[in-house]
Structures are given as structure tokens and as C-alpha cells.
């Protein structure tokens, strides 16, 4: 009887896991509407572990996305406050106006976020969720595709939160299929990959807003 009960529990857990996996391949907007998201266990570090808690199915993906969106909104407020302090950017013949404005905006945001630490937006308890999305995406690619993608990434470079994205460093192409799996961002922000890190970059300020390290798998030699 105990064995039967264990088997049933294991089967239902597997079923929940597979449903969640199917969800994760959906575009984010459809997968996690804010109203339907359910809270996830706060201290869970395993994206799969949050799927059942006290016998209740929990939508960890929805919860992570919701929390992420809240933090993004908070950042956008800072961005807007900073933007109000610098001259408006219009189309111009003078590239100096563009670079001056970019620097001024970056400086204003850096001041407003002085002391910002990695994980302020990629919340620590949900980082495994983001890591899983990226790593699953890479796993699903052919070896040649994976190698081509990784070989394009900027390497041997250290980037940090609340610093300017190195201006001489190329902005690698963000894989569109992976982009589809990550939560949407407002136009002020974008995801980028630098070396093995997933970063959030403020587009107008060219600023690294948050960083999640060791996300991109290494190529086995």
C-alpha cells in the first residue's frame, strides 16, 4: 500500500513537472499572465522544487515572472527619474549630443542606484528559473549551433552591475528563440550575454543594470 502511494505521488509529480515544461516553451505573455500567477515558495532554489508544496501545484514560472516584472517596474521608475534630469534626446547631426546624453543618463542612474548589488532584479530565489531557461535552450541546440553561438560571445571580459557596458565590446546577437522564452522587457531594457553571464542592459544609458553569472554552459573540450 505504501509502495502504491509512493508510486502515485511520484507519478503526479512527474505529471506536474512535464506540464510545467510544456508551459515554459510558451511565449512568456501567454505562459504567465499576472492575474493567474500563484505564489511560489520563497526560499526555493530549485525551479522544479517549487512545483509542489504541501500537495498544491505551484506555478513557479508565473511567480518568478511576476516578481521579475515588479522589479523591472521599480527599475523603470528610477530610469524615468534619471531621464527627467538630463536633456531630452532628439535626432541630431551632432554625435557629441548623443554620447553626452548617454553618459549623463548613465551617471544619473548610477547615482540613484549607488550600492546596487547583483540580484536586485534577477531575484536570488528565482535565479535558478532563469538559469534553467538559458541552459535548456542551449541543450536543445545542435552541437554546431551551440558552438557557433558561444564562439560569438564576448570573452575574457569582466562586467559588473551599475557600470557602463564597455563601449568597444560588440553587443552579441541575442538568440531570438531564447528571447522568446524569457520574460518580456520594456524597450528601455534588453537582455545580453557577455562571456557566461546574462545581463540586463539599459539601452539608452548603455548601462549594466543587473547580472546573472555562470548562466551560459561551457563547450566541452
Amino acid at each position: 500500500m505504501t509502495k502504491l502511494l509512493s508510486a502515485l505521488i511520484a507519478f503526479s509529480t512527474l505529471l506536474t513537472l512535464s506540464c510545467n515544461k510544456a508551459d515554459s516553451s510558451e511565449p512568456r505573455a501567454a505562459a504567465a499572465p499576472a492575474g493567474q500567477a500563484q505564489p511560489a515558495p520563497a526560499a526555493s532554489t530549485d525551479p522544479a522544487a517549487g512545483l509542489t508544496a504541501g500537495g498544491q501545484a505551484v506555478n513557479a514560472q508565473g511567480a518568478a515572472t511576476l516578481e521579475f516584472k515588479k522589479r523591472i517596474d521599480a527599475y523603470i521608475k528610477i530610469h524615468n527619474d534619471a531621464e527627467a534630469k538630463v536633456p531630452n534626446l532628439k535626432r541630431t547631426d551632432d554625435p557629441k549630443e548623443i554620447s553626452d546624453r548617454e553618459s549623463a543618463l548613465a551617471a544619473a542612474i548610477m547615482t540613484l542606484r549607488a550600492g546596487a548589488k547583483p540580484g536586485e532584479i534577477f531575484a536570488i530565489e528565482y535565479q535558478p528559473y532563469f538559469i534553467k531557461i538559458v541552459q535548456d535552450d542551449f541543450k536543445g541546440r545542435s552541437a554546431a549551433d551551440r558552438k557557433a553561438l558561444i564562439s560569438e560571445l564576448p570573452k575574457n571580459i569582466k562586467v559588473d552591475i551599475n557600470t557602463v557596458y564597455p563601449t568597444t565590446l560588440p553587443l552579441e546577437t541575442f538568440p531570438p528563440a531564447l528571447l522568446r522564452k524569457l520574460p518580456d522587457l520594456p524597450p528601455e531594457l534588453e537582455y545580453r550575454i557577455v562571456a557566461r553571464s546574462l545581463i540586463l542592459r539599459d539601452v539608452k544609458a548603455n548601462l549594466i543594470v543587473d547580472i546573472l553569472r555562470d548562466v551560459v554552459p561551457t563547450i566541452p573540450s
Binding site: 547631426d93 554625435p95 554620447s99 549551433d145 557557433a148 563601449t167 568597444t168 546577437t173 541575442f174 538568440p175
Partner: protein, 302 residues
């Protein structure tokens, strides 16, 4: 046997010497003439009211190769008076200080800018997206945008960051266009025989279905530092023209089944004319050789 008179021998030697000298002089004079013949290999457009444009890719180095290729573009203009230029990304390599805009764009293309030739840039992976605010790049403050030239609708995309907003925008714009010709351009080629990069299959899986569904005719891309005309893929014509300053010599995989024509031994650019249902193209090397040319006939939409 009677020996020839001394005077005759002297005259013969003198004539031979003169001929040799003449040959040498002619040869010396031909050297610059060969360089000049660059422009002479560009053929004039055929259509009277055709849409004529220049195609530049991966150009923003500020180095000698860019400047020389830029000079050649201007020479080509005297024969083929294109009205505007499309830029396929990597418009500025490295730093983007105000002086970089001068050295990597304004100076190499000064004659074109002085002649009021408009540029319409797409963003490459080396470009700061804030380039969209630089008027000379014609982006109107947008990372991706569209514009019309007579019968032709152009779509300048940001292939660095193909998010859902851009996909939705592209689909709407393609759907709502009744233009005879639809041409997209962006940085990363979705078909390529490059040994270093190759086809961007991830991007292809997103944009190709839209291109097919809405009858796109032609795609231009850069990123690969060479010229390649690809065999049409699912009815769409693809060109890679990312060698207008940078060059990755010998990078085209020789055995590629995709290639219709490749050129990876010198910098190059394209001049294109759209005349009714025909698109004529010429690819010109830095030294002015016409390395590829041809025409594409538009298949009317069913």
C-alpha cells in the same frame, strides 16, 4: 651571305630600344589607368525612373580600406547615380566618440554626403543602438523601421535583438504593404556560406516564415566580411555584402551548396536598380572590378 649594312643594324637597334621604352612607359601609364578602370566597369543604370541605391556592409573601420572603398563608391556614382545608400550594420567599429563618427563615416563618405545622398542604416552587433538618433543614419530614432521609394518598400531590421515587439511590427508592416517590391535588410545573414559565422538559423526560424508568407522579394545582410549571392531560398533572393571595409579573405566555404557567386578576396559594395519588375545588381570591388552582376525578375504575387 651578305652582311647587313651597319647603318641598318643601328637603326633596327634604335627602333627596338624605342619600342621597349614605349612599352615601359605605356605600362607605367596603364597602372593608374587600371585603377581608374574601376569606375569604368560599373555600368550605367538602364531604367529612366528606376530606384537606384548603394549597398554597404560592415563599413565602419575608419581605416584605409574603408576610405579606398568609399572613393570607389563615389567613382561608381558618376556612372551609376544612386540616390540613397542602405547600410547593413557594423556602421561603427570600436568606440563611438564624436570623432569616430567623423573618421568611420563622415570622412570616408564625404562626397556622398555632400551630394545629399541619404543613408538608411541597420544596426550591427558592433553598433550602439543609440546610433538611431544620428540623423545621417536615417533611422528616425528607431531600431527598426520602414520606408518607401517608389514601388519599393524597405524594411530595416535589428537582427541583434529580434524580440516579440519587432516580430509583431514586422508582420503588421509586411501585411499592410501593397508595394510591388519588398526588400528587407539587416545585419545577420540567415543563409550564408561563411566559415566563420555561417547561417543564423535561429533568426531564420523567426523571420523566414514571415518573409515567405508576405512575399518578400530580396534580403540584404552583412556580418560576413565578404560578398555572397545565394541561390534563391524558398523563392527569396539573398545577398550578403559585409565586405565594404572589413575583409575575411578566403572565408567562403568552397563546397557550399548555397553559393551562386562568392567574392572574398577584396572589399566590395553593390549598386542596385529596381526598374518595374526587374532588379539589376552589380557588385564592385574596391579596385573597381565588376565581380558580379545580374538581374532578378519579380514574380507577381499570386
Amino acid at each position: 651571305m651578305k652582311r647587313p649594312p651597319v647603318r641598318f643594324v643601328v637603326i633596327c637597334w634604335a627602333l627596338l630600344a624605342l619600342a621597349a621604352a614605349g612599352q615601359a612607359i605605356t605600362g607605367q601609364q596603364r597602372a593608374p589607368a587600371t585603377a581608374m578602370s574601376a569606375a569604368t566597369e560599373v555600368q550605367a543604370p538602364i531604367g529612366k525612373d528606376s530606384v537606384k541605391f548603394l549597398v554597404i556592409g560592415d563599413s565602419g573601420t575608419g581605416d584605409r580600406a574603408q576610405n579606398e572603398t568609399g572613393a570607389q563608391m563615389w567613382q561608381a556614382h558618376s556612372v551609376f547615380p544612386y540616390e540613397f545608400a542602405i547600410m547593413l550594420g557594423d556602421n561603427l567599429y570600436g568606440s563611438e566618440r564624436p570623432q569616430d563618427f567623423v573618421a568611420k563615416f563622415e570622412r570616408p563618405y564625404k562626397p556622398l554626403l555632400d551630394a545629399n545622398i541619404s543613408f538608411y542604416a541597420a544596426l550591427g552587433n558592433h553598433d550602439d543602438p543609440n546610433q538611431r538618433y544620428y540623423k545621417n543614419f536615417g533611422m528616425g530614432g528607431k531600431r527598426y523601421y520602414t520606408y518607401q521609394k517608389k514601388d519599393v518598400r524597405f524594411y530595416a531590421l535589428d537582427s541583434n535583438y529580434m524580440d516579440q515587439d519587432q516580430q509583431k511590427w514586422l508582420e503588421e508592416e509586411l501585411k499592410n504593404s501593397n508595394s510591388k517590391w519588398k526588400i528587407a535588410y539587416f545585419h545577420h545573414p540567415i543563409y550564408s556560406s561563411g566559415g566563420r559565422h555561417g547561417s543564423e538559423v535561429d533568426l531564420r526560424s523567426i523571420v523566414e516564415p514571415l518573409f515567405i508568407k508576405y512575399n518578400l522579394n530580396v534580403v540584404f545582410a552583412g556580418h560576413e566580411h565578404f560578398y555572397e549571392r545565394l541561390k534563391p531560398q524558398k523563392g527569396i533572393n539573398y545577398f550578403t555584402a559585409g565586405g565594404s571595409a572589413k575583409l575575411r579573405a578566403g572565408d567562403i566555404v568552397g563546397s557550399s551548396a548555397l553559393t551562386a557567386k562568392g567574392f572574398d578576396t577584396e572589399q566590395s559594395f553593390m549598386v542596385v536598380e529596381i526598374d518595374g519588375d526587374v532588379m539589376r545588381f552589380q557588385t564592385i570591388s574596391k579596385r573597381g572590378k565588376r565581380v558580379d552582376s545580374g538581374e532578378i525578375r519579380r514574380i507577381p504575387n499570386s
